[in-house]
Symmetry: C2
Subunit: 214 residues, 2 copies
């Protein structure tokens, strides 16, 4: 059985959504990204992945795959009938890779990461200056289409939906870009997406209570 190392509401949520959309059962292990421990047994998360980041997908053969762009395509290709990615050879496959890179680089790494992990306000401000332009690119693309790539939901949508969901906590109101706000609502109406988000939000709430009442 596949195993996914995740942290509630981190970008590994996109991998969870992909697994649920594909109808693939997996074992989920929670990693604490601050202490770098695996929560269930306190073991060293860095021995699972020296990057110390999620997602980490443990494949059936025991190998570990990291980076959402790779993990999401791997999951999609396990169930081609779910059409979570255009098949290799289809020109749209490169569009999928283009959007996975854009979300990973321009929204996640250029904005969300500094916003949540950097302590310095100037570092956060520099990241914030650019995010509007990146979001406008995505909003223009989605102004007259329901999904990022082709005519149906793909793993690129899982990744973008996650990133839009986090923007609010980073102080950016998605409502400024109506096509993105509408898109995020559509995505959240999908049952696997909704279930994945609800589950991880619940885990976050439990975490918050534990921090308040240790």
């Amino acid at each position: 059985m596949l195993q996914l190392y995740f942290s509630p509401m981190a970008c590994s949520l996109a991998s969870r959504i992909a697994l649920m959309e594909a109808g693939i059962e997996a074992r989920y292990h929670r990693a604490d990204l601050w202490t770098k421990k695996v929560v269930e047994d306190g073991s060293d998360f860095l021995s699972i992945s020296p990057k110390g980041a999620v997602p980490v997908l443990v494949l059936e053969n025991g190998e570990k795959l990291t980076e959402n762009a790779a993990v999401l395509q791997y999951i999609a290709d396990l169930r081609p009938e779910s059409a979570l990615a255009p098949r290799p050879g289809d020109p749209d496959r490169y569009r999928l890779q283009e959007w996975l890179s854009f979300v990973g680089c321009e929204i996640h790494k250029a904005f969300l990461f500094p916003t949540f992990w950097y302590k310095d306000d100037a570092a956060k401000a520099a990241a914030r200056e650019r995010i509007g332009k990146s979001l406008s690119v995505a909003a223009d693309h989605l102004a007259h289409r329901d999904h990022l790539v082709g005519k149906g939901f793909t793993v690129a949508d899982a990744y973008l939906a996650w990133s839009l969901l986090l923007l609010g906590r980073g102080g950016v109101d998605v409502a400024q870009w109506p096509p993105l706000a509408d898109y995020l609502q559509r995505m959240q109406e999908r049952s696997p997406v909704r279930s994945a988000i609800d589950h991880e939000m619940q885990l976050r709430k439990v975490m918050a209570r534990q921090v308040q009442n240790p």
Copy 2:
């Protein structure tokens, strides 16, 4: 014929290397990333790509593909016989995607981008704090292997080699990680890699002279 919009020594250098390694002729158009103009005719680069970033690969059908992770895989798949990427379906293809994402997110977007484009020193310092850890991950991987993926040169190597080449200008001495320094030297001994770098370095020098003596 394919067309590549590039800026000398920007990450589009990886795309140029891939084209040269694949033996694919292309037309190259220089974009000025500050003024957002196409240098040859002063036209608006944002009308080519609203992202205003390189690389932009114009395909034979006129469509434009952006993001190195996608552009590099597209170029590799045009010439499967060049083995610049494991074929789709090969488990190593996901390793290629993993490294393309890692270089794009952790070295390029998390370090090189803020270092060269942000004005605030605190923003640069925050980026610098993390780069050593990312480089160590790559160095450990390359300690006993010649290439990032499989047994030969792939487009992931084109992207990593470019990023390592830029580190020095960002004030990070690759010599601190001997496997990376050795790797960068090996990569530069490849004739297409060397030619691509020499060509763009030459363009940079001409640019610098034009700025000094306008």
